[in-house]
Symmetry: C2
Subunit: 394 residues, 2 copies
Amino acid sequence: MENFNFYSPTEFVFGKGMEAQCGKCVKKYGGTKVLIHYGSGSVVRSGLLDRVKKSLEEENIAYVELGGVQPNPRDTKIYEGIELCRKEKVDFILSVGGGSCIDSSKAIALGVPYDGDFWDFYGTGKPVEKALPIGTVLTIAAAGSEGSGASVVTKEEGMLKRDTGSDLLRPRFSVLNPELTCTLPAYQTACGATDIMAHVFERYFTNTKEVEITDRLCEGILLTMIKETPRVIADPDNYEARANIMWAGTVAHNDIVGVGRSQDWNSHAIEHELSGLYDCAHGAGLAVVMPSWMEFVYKHDVMRFAQMAVRVFGCQMNFAEPEVTAMEGIKAFRRFLHSIGMPINFEELGAKEEDIPVLVKKLGIKDKTWGFQPLSSADAGEILKIAAHAKVEE
Amino acid sequence: MENFNFYSPTEFVFGKGMEAQCGKCVKKYGGTKVLIHYGSGSVVRSGLLDRVKKSLEEENIAYVELGGVQPNPRDTKIYEGIELCRKEKVDFILSVGGGSCIDSSKAIALGVPYDGDFWDFYGTGKPVEKALPIGTVLTIAAAGSEGSGASVVTKEEGMLKRDTGSDLLRPRFSVLNPELTCTLPAYQTACGATDIMAHVFERYFTNTKEVEITDRLCEGILLTMIKETPRVIADPDNYEARANIMWAGTVAHNDIVGVGRSQDWNSHAIEHELSGLYDCAHGAGLAVVMPSWMEFVYKHDVMRFAQMAVRVFGCQMNFAEPEVTAMEGIKAFRRFLHSIGMPINFEELGAKEEDIPVLVKKLGIKDKTWGFQPLSSADAGEILKIAAHAKVEE
């Protein structure tokens, strides 16, 4: 096991009706003037925004609002948020929405106390030294941003999608009420589930040997997702299944299942170019990219893929030909994604094979990426070619 | 799933040589005058204490020392610590040792700013309102106290073992260096492993249905312990196995595997009377009590025990007679404990059947306990009778 630091100080407030705790939580963590940041009209229509405001008012906490965050959140909205916070002397940001809204909130949080352009921190590794505290009320189980220090946002000019990360961006608290996810359309639910599974897989495929505890925790989340996702697709109001998925989504990405070993974020990186170019859902892009990435890299460590096949997808181990088992696991993953309504190739996603050179160029790989199997630009192109033509196979 | 709060703000600093980070960590969390609290001479002989002091000196942090914490830590030492901290104006407590040392440190931490007797908080549910911050350097994987807000200590008069808990007692940081555990005798290592597994089982046996994510995470830790414990017993210097066990021990008890459902701490409660009366190792007492508790309660939810048998101990499901599978799992657990050198009955533990009435009386059950299956005093007596005569069975 490699040396590591694990630090996840976020207080998770989980369960039915918990958004009523918002005001108390903001107060506990020192907020006196809040920016409520949200996305679509659904948080308005559902009455959630009103409940959040009421909870703040009950604690006599002042607030201003900024809605309109889009999926793949844009820099333009972030600049607007930073300006508003400065003008209104906001000292706490409360995100009411999904991963995009949280990531936009994090960008605003680091931008407000910073003298230059917030974009300086994205895709550059520049360390964040100061940020406003944030809290979240989560409305979709997917990104895991409610428990992580990561933020991914998009520069509208050129549709560049880049990320940053810092412990300072970890939410002080996150309210997780599974009821809020019951009204999500099946497609969005499935996109979220795919994102959650991808967060685990990006940690599962490691070159560090013998980190059994992390393997087992990863497999536990994946097994849960395989059981619970079809249940919520079939029965959107199934609270128990929604609750399992929501908590799985948080645990999948606060890094408790990633410590002590190398990780691999190449599928995420490749996908970011797809959703950057086509503005598709991140989870949908992952459903197309990730099994294709697996097909391309599995020979790098056949036994690890065989372990996934056996432990996660219940395949029988072929001891004479472990490669067969490894491929069976990858096929099972793609079948699972198809079964929950995810696209699995370019046509289903709305992507075009002729764009592959553009996608690879935007990816901007210099020499090779890092990860389980470092990738060249040519490798990324091959993965996208597999993705373009992928099919469900028995 | 039941509503819950999950809050684990401790920073875990994990890996080889990490005790050198102590000074930096104390500084980061605001300590300026430290009480170094430790147990046996082994932290002195191994040079660990010197390395910790050096690390504090490098950051110009002043310290005083108090050694001599015993297993099942005593109130007498705690009073001594409280007095010393007040006299020396200590503002941070650094525990260098195992669970007993951490629990003693927590008692001192809450006792220093409190006007009355620190014992007021133990076994009473009285809420802790103030405590000095603490940090830990862990030397044995077992108690999980390095990541929890719990503390269990013993009043010498009458050997009463009682507990308290508060988020204020969660360590600010915990240094986990698996190398420090390589010199532990096999018996202590196995006691620690048993404690870790018990912490998971006390959460696994729940009356809350359908919390798949927590079940799977519990099973992941148990599977890890079953794989790694025999490896360290056979090869004490196996760093990778030591590392897996150490991290499993922390994850087993910061409650990440216990949220959203009822728990059951009756085995722990019964064991506390054994180690209180005989001063035996807590893990050894658990090895005797826990499988016996399982035998007594399994009919309360046969399918849950069958799930344990199949998923954790690899038993084949007997679909016609699930009770048979359930009992097979319990027997497999006891065989496992025996195989790692743990006592499994009163004789092996050094306990006496004729003491059962005394043990039950000290347990002081009024009406019934709470938990998976609430227990009366008579039930506790029955469990201890099973424990008295338990045997390894195929």
